[in-house]
């Protein structure tokens, strides 16, 4: 399916999808993308939004990262939690963050959450669900606090409390029994912590620590590892071997440290205007 013309047509080229499916049918194992598994939540409270996320990244059955960051920066007052394929959520949020800053400079206005939502959904729809990013977008702008979910195919929902990821059912159970409108900050934070904890303990794809982010009109507070319910206990025994346990016949010691001094010759890195 190679293009003979030098001009590439606009839009995404899906020809690799066809090839990959063909290879898979022939028996080639598809590479496993790092999936965040994940429990991510967002909830509206009296003064703004609280976002929460767990910190486990999985590669199939293996934990790839025990303390990854799933709450991504979009703008100063807008953050986005990402579930799904880790690379997809990272790059998508970074791209939209950059475009939001450009837009804010050009328009001269503080950026709005709906702008980020529109940029994200239009990009995800363009890729027809192949960009596996399921996002919880929340923030406060000049029109007030807003909370959205964005699914990999590009659909969005606007709600007062949302959960996404493999642990979303566990977290939603906590939200459904605990959420009330106009909660105080402490109440909202505790609810979010409880929801993420439900995901951590009841879902295999989520684990480790709880991250939270509280966004209000005046400030954004990033609470990294606000709760660490899975700290590794200290080992009961000391497993070191006594020096001399293994006998040796010969000993030779060499230093691998190279001593060097750098003498700059010429003008350094100044511009040559001669």
């Amino acid at each position: 399916m190679s293009k003979s013309s030098v001009y590439s047509s606009p839009g995404f080229d899906f020809s690799n999808i066809v090839r990959n499916n063909f290879l898979h049918e022939k028996g080639l194992p598809l590479p496993k993308a790092t999936s965040t598994g994940t429990t991510i939540v967002g909830c509206l409270f009296k003064d703004g939004i609280v976002l929460g996320a767990d910190t486990r990244a999985t590669e199939g059955p293996i934990v790839a990262d025990k303390n990854c960051e799933k709450i991504h920066y979009i703008t100063e007052s807008i953050r986005c939690c990402g579930a799904g394929t880790a690379a997809d959520t990272e790059f998508t949020t970074a791209l939209i963050s950059s475009n939001m800053e450009l837009h804010a400079l050009q328009s001269g206005r503080k950026p709005r959450v709906v702008t980020a939502m529109t940029m994200l959904k239009q990009m995800l729809f363009r890729y027809q669900g192949h960009v596996g990013a399921a996002l919880v977008l929340g923030g406060v702008d000049s029109t007030g606090p807003h909370l959205f979910t964005i699914h990999p195919h590009g659909s969005t929902d606007k709600l007062p409390y949302v959960t996404m990821g493999s642990g979303s059912l566990a977290a939603m159970a906590v939200f459904e029994s605990g959420w009330q409108p106009n909660m105080e900050r402490e109440q909202a934070l505790n609810l979010v912590k409880a929801a993420i904890a439900a995901g951590i303990f009841n879902d295999l794809g989520s684990g480790s620590n709880v991250d939270a982010c509280i966004i209000t009109a005046n400030s954004t507070e990033m609470l990294r590892n606000v709760e660490m319910p899975n700290v590794r206990v200290q080992k009961e025994r000391d497993y070191k071997f006594r020096r001399g346990t293994t006998a040796w016949k010969k000993e030779e010691i060499r230093s691998l440290v190279v001593e060097e001094t750098v003498t700059p010759i010429g003008r350094g890195d100044e511009m040559d205007t001669s």
Binding site: L95, E101, M222
Partner: protein, 255 residues
Amino acid sequence: MANADGGAYSYSLTVFSPSGKLVQIEHALAAVAGGTTSLGIKASNGIVIAAEKKTSSILIDDSVIDRVAVICPNIGIVYSGMGPDFRVLVTKARKSAQAYWKIYGTYPPTRVLTQEIATVMQQATQSGGVRPYGVSLLVAGWDSHRGPTLYQVDPSGSFWAWKASAIGKNMVNAKTFLEKRYNDDISLEDAIHTALLTLKEGFEGQMTEKTIEIGVITVPTPEELEAESPDGITGRVKPTFRKLTEEEVRDYLSL
């Protein structure tokens, strides 16, 4: 052939005159010299850039005019010359800064961004069917490698660093004034006062907070630099460049 104004050589940009000049660029510099004055002063702990907001009629709503522009959190630009050309260059500079951020994860150092803008301006001096940009720019920025730096970019695409400079209508007098008043350890506060005095020298009419614009680079403290590092918990780098509000300008003017 070899007239004072270039004669036949002055109409095509891609043709050198016998004296070795590209006459179109000379004409572009004349357009700059006819523009409203702007200046920049590098202090020991920051940079100030300022410009007159001269309008051709009192009926113009000057709150919409933007002489000093933010490119990214650590770089700001001011110009003298043709406003529309400046607008286009600012958009390109902003996109260039974001493109750099997307690749390297940090905002470009001032010199790198200045070089990119200068390249864009140079390309308009060596292509067919285009004319040079009729602006000179003063680019002020802070980066961790060189600290605060101030660059001037000309329509030819050449750029160089200044400790203090002025461009536009009143640049000769302003530069003489700055030469007398500048010293290497001037503080940012003194630099702002000096900038205002320099602008006042050639100002026609009333100099108020509505007829001048000031942008300021402040050097981040060690604590702020610490917060930016991968272990620190802030969203992105704290802006070092900002435009002064009208109230702040009024306070400086009243001193």
